[in-house]
Structures are given as structure tokens and as C-alpha cells.
């Protein structure tokens, strides 16, 4: 174990060449280093040990590879059971280790702040905060492995090429540089060429531009099983963050055989199902759902309307040729007595007609997400991190975040913490382009001067005999007009390296060159491959872009921890804001109760109500034996209370003067509130 560690440190320091922090060993030190699963486990244990009254270390299960999945439960004074909770989840993807560090930092801030910060104390006294920083320990272990493969699947063996043998053809680090990069081979069927602007990067040849492919590209390795495919069945298995049940990709091997097929996702799903008091999920992964609100599946046009089959339509009195909302159909069905005493709900109609799941953010929830997005962008601006928006990735198919919103039905926020910064492009203001040429007069063109015109012709790929002098003479003689030149320019094939689009990964390479002193990219180097012959090995380090250099992780973590703490403060707060008893005469009293939401967010999400996983508020009137209810229900439900709003419920009861009545309001995600009123 030690020897591998040392080798890991060695290869990691080669990777982080040039003055970046060497991999630390002491978990207690405020190290500028990412910690592996063993160190994370130790750190969590230490935290729980340091704050025994507030923190408890638990495990939610084991990974496919047999590793524990740890979770910290943070709760302040008072009864813990039944209080609303928050889940902070991180690094389901395995390689997003900055997420792990951020989750732990958040735990540390809460625990250290309890004694000093009133807000934090109030938060921890009222709510339980669950922190799960290491949800894919197999994948994270792979991240810290001696050879960087860029794969963070769990430890389940998967026969990816369906040939009967499992994991028989994995990657090989042929050039022993500690990372699995690519191999490029010259091949008549090759479709790849070096990018004209940045030849280290590969792009597909575009036949429309007259480009012809040169290379085939493989991942680094040999053909272990002789099937002429390379590395098509490597070890490490399924990606847990694609294994959740919303918009699951069926029949894709890396997503798993079926939703919840993997122990990591089962552990988390079991945990969620067993903790219905979780009212908010704050996630760290490569998904930044606050900046990119695009959903994975498209709603059908008019998706919420359905058509009723003929004989059912006739029975309930609807038109089989018209579209109705689910509510309209349910109301018609109930009016026709279809249920025979049982109330037909919209879900039953949806179920019977085979309507599918929700795929768009519910209209009722959009204001919450929009307000959060605004606050988040302000926070990013203050931290000078606006660059996060450009390459923000939205929610993924089958991801935990998608399940948490669409099926578990709570507000969910996911951030990626950091992206490779893209340097701003400097365009020389006086560069001549075809468009500018069109608008220029002949005189303006000539006024540019021979040098500029010469450079322009060279850039435009003009043939060598077409010098600036020749062109200027032609324009002077009236033989050539600027507009004609503009057209000709547009027609001509571009000279390699001429004004064209940057390779989409060019900004990554640029950052690797400057910030990492080139360590993020392996230069193409010849290699003699046992099967393919002469190849070149090179390409991006597979882990590039997932996390910032360890020395730079503090600022993004800090900004996001503060923002997530702020979000936790928005949770709804159920209150009985008023309770009175009014004497009506005789032994009759009218009891009126007012229920309010003192928090910023509604008491449940629209999607949670649609999925029926966010229960309505249940109100119970507690009477003693001598009291009887005259009008009103002993139990009532309130579907939702928006922020700052109040709902009123009334009962008329017969009771003795001086007796008491209790009103209790409860929902799994809101906790219980209770109040008593005396009849006088």
C-alpha cells in the first residue's frame, strides 16, 4: 500500500509540475491537496470526534468495490427526530474531488460556527444537516490511482463489449507517463487531422473545406483480447451518477443494467427514502444546474393535456376528439361516479392513460430557481468567478440531482465549483475581414497602405503572385472593386492557420500551457506499438479540467460554501401564526387557526406535489373527551403555503368554558408545530 502511495505521489507531482503543492500526508494539516478516500474518512472521523455533541459519523452503505460510503449527521440542541433536514451531497462522479473538499469545508464551517455564529446555531438547532462528501469511493480511489485513466466508474465488472469476458481489455500506460492519453496512427481510413490553428489538438477533417483525414485515434493501450478493438472493456464499471431513476438511459452499459442497479445508488436512494424529512438537496458535481437550467428530456407539445379513449369519454361525458387537462378528466370521472365511492385522482387518470413523467421544471417552482440563479450570479461576480457560466453543464440523464427534484420532489441545487478559465480573445481592431471589405470604398482600401494590404492578402491565402502592389494597381485602374474582392475572399479555400474558429478545446490547452506549465497535455511522441506499428502517443491528461490545482481550491470552495449556507436559510418555516376561540353562545365556540410560512420558499415544490412525494400539511384538531366537533373536519390538509402567506382553517365545537383545544400542523419536510387555545 505504501509503495503504491509513493508512486502515486511521484506521478502526481510530475503531473502537477512546477511549484504546485506536493501531495500532503497529514490529514490534520490545512493542506493544499486533495485527499483520497482513506484520508476523507479519517477527516470525517476526526470532525465527529471534535464535536461529539453536534456531529455523528454514519455510513449509508458500501460501494461495489466494498468501500464504506460515509455520512456526517450534524444536529444542534433539542430533539432531532422529525425536524426538517438538508442533504449536502458531493462527488458521485468520483473524480470531482473539489466537491468532496467543499462538502467537508461546509461541515467544518457549520461545526466551528455553532458556538460563535447566531445564524449557524439557529440553523443547526432547527434542522439536521446531512453531509455525504464521498458518494462514489471506488471512482475517487481510481482518481488517485497510479495511472490516471479518467474513468471513475464503480468496482462492478461489466462486460462492455458483450463478448463473454469481463474487463479483459483495459487501458495500458504504454509510455509510462502516469496517464492514459491517446494514440494517433496514420491510416488510410483515418478521419482526424491536426487542428490548423493549434496542431497539438486533433479535429475531424471537414471534406467541405477540402480537408482529408490522416489519423485514426485510439485510447492508449493494446488489444488484449485479440478482437481488433482497443480498450473496449476496461475495469470499473458503472457510473453511479447515471444510475438514478429519472430519465435513465436504458441499454447503455455505463449507466447500469437498470436504475438503482448499483450499490452506491441503492445506498443513497435507501437513505433518501428513509429520510423523508430531507427538504433540500445541495449537490456538488460537474452539473451546474443553477447556471444551466436545461433539462435532459423534452416535454411533448401540450404535454399536460391528454385525450380520453372513446368508451371512457362517453361514460364521463367528454369529447374523445378534444384535449383535456388531467384535472378536468378526473373531475368528470368523479361526477359520473366512475370510482364507485372511491375518489378518482389525477394520478389515476395519468396512470390509466399512460401519461409519462414530468420533464420540465414545474411552473410553480420557476420563481425559486430564478431567484436563486440571480443570487448565485451576484455571488460569482463578487468572487470574480463569472467565467463559470460559459461552459456550465446542466443536469445529466439518470443523475442523482434529476431524481432529487423530479421524484423526491425537493428544491435541488448543484454547482461544479470551478471550470478551466477561458482567456479572453484579443482581436486586433484593425484586422481586415471580408465583411469590412464589402463596406469599404476603393479609396479607403488603398488608404490602408501596402503593408496592411500585403498582410491581409497573406492571411486570406492569396497566391504569391498576387502582391499588394498588383492589387493596388488593379484597384487604381478601376479593374477591381472592393466588393468583388470580398466575394472572391469568401470563395477561396482558407489557408491553414488562417482566420478560422478555434478548436473547442484550445482554451483548455492554453490554460494547461500557462497555469500548469504544460503538464495538462502530453506532447505527441512516437512509439512503436505491438499491434498498430508506428504510433504517436499524446493528448490531454484525462483528469484535466475536473478540479483546479489544489492550491487554487480555496476561493471557489469559500464562495460556494457561503452561497449554500445562504440557500439553507431560505427553507420554509411553518408556523401557527394565530389561534383563537370565539364564544358563539350556549356551549359553542368557533376556533380559528392561521397557518403561515415565515420562510422564503414555499412549503413544498410544485413538482413534489405532482410527484406526491412532498406531502401536504396535515392539520389535526385535538379535542378532549368532553368536546365535540360540530362543523369542520378533525383532520384537514393544506396543499401548500407560499412564502409570507397565511391559510385559515375554522371549526365550530361544543366545549366547556375553560377547556382547551390543541391544533397541530405537520408535514415530513416541515416538522411539527402545535398550539393550544383556551375556551373562554
Amino acid at each position: 500500500m505504501n509503495r503504491n502511495r509513493r508512486f502515486a505521489i511521484l506521478s502526481l507531482s510530475i503531473f502537477l509540475a512546477g511549484g504546485l503543492a506536493v501531495f500532503g500526508q497529514a490529514p490534520a494539516a490545512k493542506a493544499a491537496a486533495y485527499r483520497n478516500p482513506a484520508e476523507i474518512g479519517a477527516a470525517m472521523k476526526a470532525l465527529a470526534g471534535k464535536y461529539p455533541a453536534l456531529a455523528r459519523l454514519e455510513t449509508i452503505g458500501k460501494s461495489a468495490g466494498g468501500r464504506e460510503i460515509p455520512i456526517l449527521r450534524l444536529a444542534g440542541g433539542g430533539k432531532v427526530e422529525g425536524r426538517p433536514a438538508v442533504l449536502v451531497s458531493a462527488n458521485l462522479e468520483g473524480g470531482h474531488v473539489i466537491g468532496t473538499e467543499a462538502a467537508l469545508r461546509l461541515a467544518e464551517k457549520l461545526l466551528a460556527g455553532y458556538a460563535q455564529d447566531k445564524k449557524i446555531a439557529a440553523l443547526l438547532d432547527a434542522r439536521t444537516i446531512y453531509i455525504a462528501p464521498l458518494l462514489n469511493p471506488d471512482g475517487t480511489e481510481a482518481f488517485f490511482g497510479a495511472v490516471k485513466t479518467g474513468r471513475f466508474g464503480n468496482g462492478r465488472p461489466v462486460d462492455e463489449d458483450a463478448d463473454g469476458a469481463v474487463d479483459e481489455d483495459g487501458f495500458e500506460d504504454l509510455n509510462k507517463d502516469g496517464k492514459i492519453t491517446q494514440m494517433r496512427v496514420k491510416d488510410p481510413e483515418g478521419r482526424w487531422i491536426p487542428d490548423p490553428k493549434e496542431p497539438r489538438l486533433m479535429r475531424l477533417a471537414d471534406s467541405k473545406k477540402g480537408e482529408k483525414g490522416i489519423y485514426k485515434i485510439y485510447s492508449e493501450g493494446i488489444d488484449n483480447d485479440g478482437d481488433r478493438e482497443y480498450n473496449e472493456d476496461p475495469a470499473g464499471g458503472v457510473l453511479p451518477n447515471r444510475n438514478f431513476p429519472h430519465d435513465f438511459e436504458y441499454l447503455v452499459k455505463t449507466a447500469g443494467l437498470y436504475p438503482a442497479s448499483e450499490p452506491e445508488s441503492v445506498a443513497l436512494l435507501k437513505f433518501m427514502d428513509g429520510h423523508q424529512e430531507i427538504a433540500l438537496v445541495l449537490n456538488f458535481s460537474s452539473e451546474n444546474t443553477i447556471l444551466n437550467q436545461q433539462q435532459t428530456a423534452q416535454a411533448k407539445a401540450g404535454g399536460d393535456k391528454v385525450r380520453v379513449p372513446k368508451d371512457l369519454a362517453q361514460y364521463v361525458g367528454l369529447d374523445p376528439e378534444k384535449d383535456y387537462t388531467l384535472k378536468e378528466v378526473a373531475d368528470a370521472a368523479n361526477a359520473a361516479g366512475l370510482g364507485g365511492g372511491m375518489t378518482i385522482t389525477e394520478d389515476m387518470i395519468a396512470s390509466f392513460l399512460g401519461s409519462g413523467p414530468a420533464v420540465q421544471i414545474d411552473q410553480a417552482d420557476q420563481p425559486v430557481f430564478e431567484a436563486a440563479a440571480k443570487d448565485y450570479k451576484d455571488a460569482l461576480k463578487a468572487a470574480k468567478m463569472e467565467g463559470l457560466e460559459k461552459h456550465a453543464r446542466g443536469v445529466g440523464k439518470g443523475s442523482f440531482v434529476a431524481y432529487a427534484y423530479y421524484q423526491f420532489g425537493v428544491p435541488v441545487f448543484s454547482t461544479d465549483l470551478w471550470q478551466i478559465p477561458e482567456a479572453k480573445k484579443e482581436e486586433p481592431a484593425d484586422k481586415i475581414t471580408a465583411d469590412k471589405l464589402k463596406d469599404m470604398t476603393n479609396d479607403q482600401f488603398l488608404a490602408l497602405g501596402e503593408e496592411k494590404i500585403g498582410a491581409f492578402l497573406k492571411d486570406a491565402g492569396a497566391p504569391p503572385n498576387m502582391t499588394a502592389k498588383v492589387i493596388m494597381e488593379a484597384v487604381k485602374a478601376g479593374k477591381l472593386k472592393t466588393a468583388q474582392m470580398a466575394d472572391m475572399m469568401a470563395q477561396m479555400p482558407k489557408k491553414p492557420g488562417a482566420d478560422g474558429e478555434d478548436h473547442p478545446d484550445a482554451y483548455k490547452l492554453q490554460w494547461s500551457d500557462t497555469a500548469l506549465k504544460g503538464a495538462g497535455f502530453a506532447a505527441w511522441t512516437p512509439f512503436k506499438h505491438p499491434q498498430l506499428g508506428d504510433v504517436e502517443i499524446g493528448g490531454f491528461c484525462p483528469c484535466l479540467g475536473l478540479n483546479p490545482p489544489a492550491a487554487e481550491m480555496d476561493a471557489p470552495i469559500s464562495a460556494h460554501v457561503d452561497f449554500y449556507l445562504k440557500l439553507m436559510g431560505n427553507l420554509p418555516v411553518l408556523e401557527i401564526s394565530g389561534l383563537k376561540a370565539e364564544f358563539l353562545g350556549g356551549d359553542l365556540y368557533k376556533v380559528t387557526a392561521y397557518f403561515s410560512n415565515a420562510g422564503k420558499w414555499p412549503t413544498s415544490t410544485g413538482q413534489g406535489r405532482r410527484a406526491r412525494t412532498a406531502w401536504p400539511i396535515r392539520v389535526e384538531l385535538g379535542l378532549d373527551k368532553a368536546q365535540t366537533l360540530f362543523s369542520g373536519q378533525p383532520t384537514e390538509t393544506i396543499p401548500v403555503i407560499n412564502s409570507g402567506e397565511t391559510t385559515k382553517l375554522e371549526w365550530t365545537i361544543r366545549a366547556k368554558k375553560g377547556s382547551k383545544v390543541t391544533v397541530k400542523a405537520w408535514a415530513p419536510k416541515l416538522g411539527t408545530v402545535q398550539s393550544t387555545v383556551v375556551m373562554d
Binding site: 462486460d159 458483450a162 478482437d227 429519472h246 437498470y258 441503492v266 365511492g341
Partner: protein
């Protein structure tokens, strides 16, 4: 129609009796099972253990897991050891009773095991079947509800669920308000109360029946619902009974959450019974065909359960159809039905998981048809008013059936009862065995015909052979060996689904023999022009991509270097094993 019914019943009874009568040699411990009653889970376990003792070579019995309440989920594995290990044979899987009240699948499955064991070595069909195919049988997937349905007070439609407590009415309490058998007749029947404003009135034709009141007419009865009391004082009766979910919506393929598919649970395979069955099926990847018994209605179902992920592979559909059409003849009255199209939408059902994720040809039979419907043939093609349907003659026929055929066993006459909330009421109505399960005198026929269908289906599992072999000597010690891999049965050696979705390993032909080397192989395109298409040559083997079609063949030409003889082995995950020695000289 009545005549035919009588004839087939007689034939069924005769065949059944004959089956028991044909006993040339009595084994030391003879097991006699009868199919005129229902077996609870312990009885199933005992019957299987008794059979195991009588047929130790052919039968293995194991518990594949425990239910929520700790009952064993029994499985039987039938394999003929003299023809090789189970893994090398196509497997046929049968289960029943995933819905707790749909019990007769348990008897059908048990009958199938019993029939095979009794007739192996006696009839040609049973002997060759058990020699070729290995059977995996789970008679009851939901033993907790099975036992409750058989031994306690239930109604024909429940309990369907498993027994994890669920807060159905969301009041913070679990399973606190189940139905009660107030009159102690062993079933949950109905409660009614005399009410001049009620919507029902006594039927003029039979005082035990009620008909809806016409507008303006005086009422007599209000229906109060199923027998029970308000246990939790919330003003509702029987709103939170045991469990409250549907295990046949909890499987992994095309699973949808509760609000889309009621009963589906919090995530796939959330309960011990569904986990046990899943793991048992996954442990036997040689399973190629399957049957999952339900009730009710007389249907031979195939998936998909929903249309959002598309229909099954067209080549596979043809196989399903041919087998199902024969099934319609074996079980007259049963109709071949496609779930999403002809029935209703089912997300996360067992049969979709088996077909789409595992590449198994899986049917689901909805057992039994309404014996009362046979008494008065329905007028086909007439658009009936719903109200007329309720008043139909059939209701009177039902009482004739209950009185004169069942002789009162399945109907409780209305009797007064003092209800704590409603006061003077009456309790009565059809009992738990009155519908969905067959009357005892019909159970044997249900068992035999459905067993016969699934054994027919099992018999159509692939059988591969090597035929039309010719050897031609070429120069340099190289031989050209032509052959056909043939499949005599309707089922291909691999489903189209498994091929297109790469679900599992393809079939492989392995060349063996001392000094034998496979140099090249091509698939025959034109024998006369000697044209072959290239086939990727592995080390002395090649894959039969796409398998051998049902009643089809794949033709190959190999170039081998060798001497003496070579062996050809067909090695398929689900399509079985075949071997042939070829003399090169």
C-alpha cells in the same frame, strides 16, 4: 358452448385421472398431489420437499430469499443430470403469484413440476423435454399475501401488495386502518344500510341483488363499502391497510415513479421479494423462455408494458406471436394480448425486465375466465349502455351459479350487524374465492392447460445441430470444411433484442482437436459461386453474430489446418450446447 365446456371439462378430468392412474412402477415414496384446492406457502414447501424426496436426481428445492414477514420464497430446479449440467441447456423459468390475491399461478406452477416429474421416463414428450431443458420454477413470489389471502379474511382483489408497512393515508401512522371481517365469514364482503335517499334499491328479481335507482324513484340502500371500522378515528374506513404497493411495477426496465405508475415503490427492486426473484433469474443466465402467472381474464400477454421505449424487436415479435397463437388453441378462450396496446400501461413489470434487459422470451398468462359469463353468451358488437350492463341478466345468472353450482360456498347472504359508526347495517356479498380464482372443480383444468402451454413453449426452446458437413482436402495440410448450424425449433438461439442491444455474449463455434488450427472462416453466401462473407476469426473459434434463427440455419465454410479429426462445438449462453466430431479423411 355449454356442451363444449362440459366435454373439455370431462376430458380434463379424465386426463388428470389418467395421469394419476398410469403408474407402472411405484417409487418407494410416492407423492400424490391433488389440484382441487389451494396450497398455502407451507403446503407448497412441503409438496416440493416431498417431490424432492421422491425424485432426488431430477429435482432441487431451494429458498431463494425471505419475504418481508420472513417466509421462504420456494424455488424448484428440474434438471436431468444424465444429459449434462443445467448451465449448458436452455432454461425455462416459471413464476406465479407476484400479486398476493392471484394465487392460482402457484398451483399451475406446482402442477407443472409435478407433471414433469411424474411423466419423465414414461411419456416421450416429457422425457425428451426434461432431457433438453432445465426448469426454474418459483410457484409463489409473494408468500405473505398468498397466505393471508388463503387463510385469512380477504376479498377477491386483495391483498395484492407486499407487507412493508406504508402510510397510505399520510397521517403519520402505518397500516393502522385495515378492513375487518366483522361477520366472521372468512371474507371481506360489503356493508349496506337502509336509506330512503340511497342510490340503490333491491332488485325485483332477487332480493340479494341491488340495482341503481332511476331518477325520481325512492331509494332503499346506501352502499357503505367494504367491511371494516374506522380504526384511527379519522372519519375514513379501511383507508390504510397492510402494505400498499404493487411488486409487478417494481422491476428495473422502464420503471417509473409512483405518480406515473401507482404502486411502483421508491426505486426499482426496493423489496425483498423482487430482489430475490431478480437475483435468482440473474444467477441463471441460460434462461431463454419464461412464464409469469397472474389472474384474471384469459389472456396470453406479451410486453412491452408501455409504448414510450418502443415495441419489441420485430423478429422477436414473430416468435412471440407464433407461440401465443398455438397457446390460443391449447387454452381455448385465452387471447394473445399486447400489454400497452390491448390492455393498459404497465411500467416496471417483470416481463419487460426479462425481455428487454435479459433477452428472455417471457409471456404472462392471466389465468381463468369468468365461469358465469359462459352461462349467457354475450351479444358481440352491440354498443351497450353502462347502466344496462349493470342491470344485465348476467347478475341473475350469477346468483344461479352461486346457488346451484357453487351451492352457496362463495356468497354470504345479507345479514344484520350493529356497526359502531353506522348503527344498523347489513353485511353480505360475494366471498374471496368468488371471482378471479377458479372454482375448485375448474382448478385442475386451469393447471393442466396452462402447464401444457408453458411446456409447449419450453419445448420450442432452440435445438442446435451440425448438418450437411462436407470436407475437402486442399494443399499443404489444409482442409475446407463446410457445414450448417441448424435450429429445429421456433425460438432463435439469441433474441433480436440481445443482438441489437449487446445484452450478453454471442453464440460461439469452437474448433477443437489435436493439431487443429482455424485459419479462416466465411459465411456461405452462394454455394455455386463459392462466395462467402468474411467472419472475424478468433483463436480457433468464431462468433455466430445474430445467432441461429428459429427453424433456420447458418452456413459456414472453414479452412482448417489439422489431421485426423476435429470437433465443432456450438456454445450458446441461452441456446444450448451442441458438439460434433468431423473426420478429416
Amino acid at each position: 358452448m355449454r356442451k363444449k365446456f362440459g366435454l373439455s371439462l370431462a376430458a380434463g378430468i379424465l386426463l388428470f385421472a389418467g395421469l394419476l392412474g398410469l403408474q407402472p412402477a411405484q417409487p418407494a415414496a410416492e407423492v400424490v398431489l391433488s389440484f382441487d384446492h389451494f396450497y398455502d406457502n407451507a403446503a407448497i414447501g412441503k409438496a416440493l420437499q416431498d417431490l424432492r424426496a421422491a425424485y432426488p436426481q431430477l429435482l432441487t428445492v431451494q429458498s431463494i430469499g425471505k419475504s418481508v414477514l420472513g417466509r421462504d420464497i420456494w424455488a424448484a430446479i428440474l434438471n436431468s443430470p444424465k444429459t449434462g449440467p443445467a448451465e449448458r441447456k436452455p432454461g425455462y423459468y416459471i413464476d406465479g403469484n407476484i400479486h398476493g390475491n392471484e394465487i392460482q399461478g402457484g398451483e399451475v406452477a406446482l402442477y407443472t413440476v409435478y407433471y414433469l416429474l411424474k411423466n419423465y421416463g414414461k411419456t416421450e414428450f416429457a422425457t425428451q423435454l426434461l432431457d433438453r431443458i432445465v426448469f426454474y420454477v418459483v410457484p409463489s413470489m409473494n408468500p405473505d399475501s398468498r397466505d393471508f389471502f388463503i387463510n385469512k379474511a380477504a376479498d377477491p382483489n386483495s391483498p395484492r401488495t407486499g407487507w412493508v408497512p406504508i402510510d397510505d393515508d399520510r397521517d403519520g401512522r402505518l397500516d393502522e386502518d385495515p378492513p375487518e371481517d366483522l361477520d366472521g365469514d372468512g371474507s371481506i364482503t360489503m356493508m349496506r344500510k337502509r336509506d330512503p335517499l340511497g342510490r340503490m334499491k333491491t332488485s325485483p328479481d332477487d332480493p340479494r341483488l341491488m340495482v341503481p335507482v332511476k331518477p325520481g324513484e325512492k331509494g332503499e340502500w346506501t352502499m357503505l363499502g367494504e367491511e371494516g371500522i374506522d380504526n384511527d378515528g379519522d372519519g375514513m374506513i379501511n383507508e390504510d391497510g397492510p402494505g400498499g404497493y404493487d411488486m409487478n411495477r417494481n422491476f428495473g426496465y422502464n420503471w417509473q415513479p409512483e405518480y406515473v405508475q401507482g404502486g411502483a415503490g421508491p426505486y426499482p427492486f426496493a423489496w425483498p421479494e423482487t430482489v430475490a426473484v431478480r437475483d435468482f433469474v440473474l444467477a441463471h443466465p441460460n434462461i431463454m423462455g419464461a412464464q409469469s402467472y397472474h389472474n384474471f381474464g384469459g389472456m396470453i400477454l406479451r410486453g412491452p408494458g408501455a409504448k414510450n421505449l418502443g415495441d419489441y424487436n420485430p423478429a422477436d415479435i414473430r416468435v412471440f406471436e407464433e407461440i401465443a397463437k398455438r397457446g390460443e388453441k391449447i387454452i381455448p378462450g385465452y387471447k394473445y394480448t399486447i400489454v400497452y396496446k390491448d390492455m393498459y400501461t404497465v411500467y416496471g413489470g417483470t416481463i419487460d425486465f426479462m425481455y428487454a434487459d435479459l433477452g428472455i422470451f417471457c409471456f404472462s398468462n392471466e389465468l381463468d375466465m369468468d365461469p358465469i359469463a359462459e352461462m349467457s353468451p354475450k351479444k358481440e358488437g352491440s354498443e351497450e349502455n353502462i347502466m344496462d350492463r349493470i342491470n344485465r341478466q348476467e347478475n341473475l345468472d350469477e346468483m344461479i351459479f352461486r346457488d346451484n353450482v357453487e351451492m352457496g360456498e362463495n356468497f354470504t347472504n345479507w345479514k344484520p350487524y350493529k356497526h359502531p359508526l353506522y348503527g344498523d347495517i347489513e353485511i353480505g356479498g360475494p366471498r374471496k374465492f368468488s371471482s378471479r380464482v377458479p372454482p375448485f372443480f375448474k382448478l385442475a383444468e386451469t393447471c393442466h392447460r396452462n402447464a401444457a402451454f408453458s411446456l409447449y413453449h419450453a419445448d420450442q426452446m432452440p435445438v442446435v445441430g451440425f448438418e450437411n458437413i462436407s470436407v475437402k482436402k486442399l494443399d499443404g495440410g489444409i482442409y475446407q470444411v463446410d457445414f450448417m448450424a441448424t435450429n429445429a425449433k421456433i425460438t432463435p438461439t439469441i433474441t433480436g433484442q440481445a443482438v441489437s442491444q449487446k445484452l450478453h455474449r454471442p453464440d460461439r463455434i469452437i474448433v477443437g482437436g489435436k493439431n487443429a488450427t482455424l485459419l479462416a472462416v466465411g459465411e456461405m453466401r452462394d454455394r455455386y459461386l463459392n462466395q462467402t462473407s468474411p467472419v472475424k476469426t478468433l483463436k480457433n473459434a468464431f462468433d455466430v453474430i445474430g445467432g441461429v434463427p428459429g427453424r433456420g440455419r447458418r452456413e459456414y465454410r472453414m479452412l482448417v489446418k489439422g489431421s485426423g479429426s476435429i470437433t465443432l462445438t456450438f456454445d450458446s449462453l441461452k441456446g444450448g450446447f451442441a458438439e460434433k466430431t468431423i473426420d478429416l479423411n
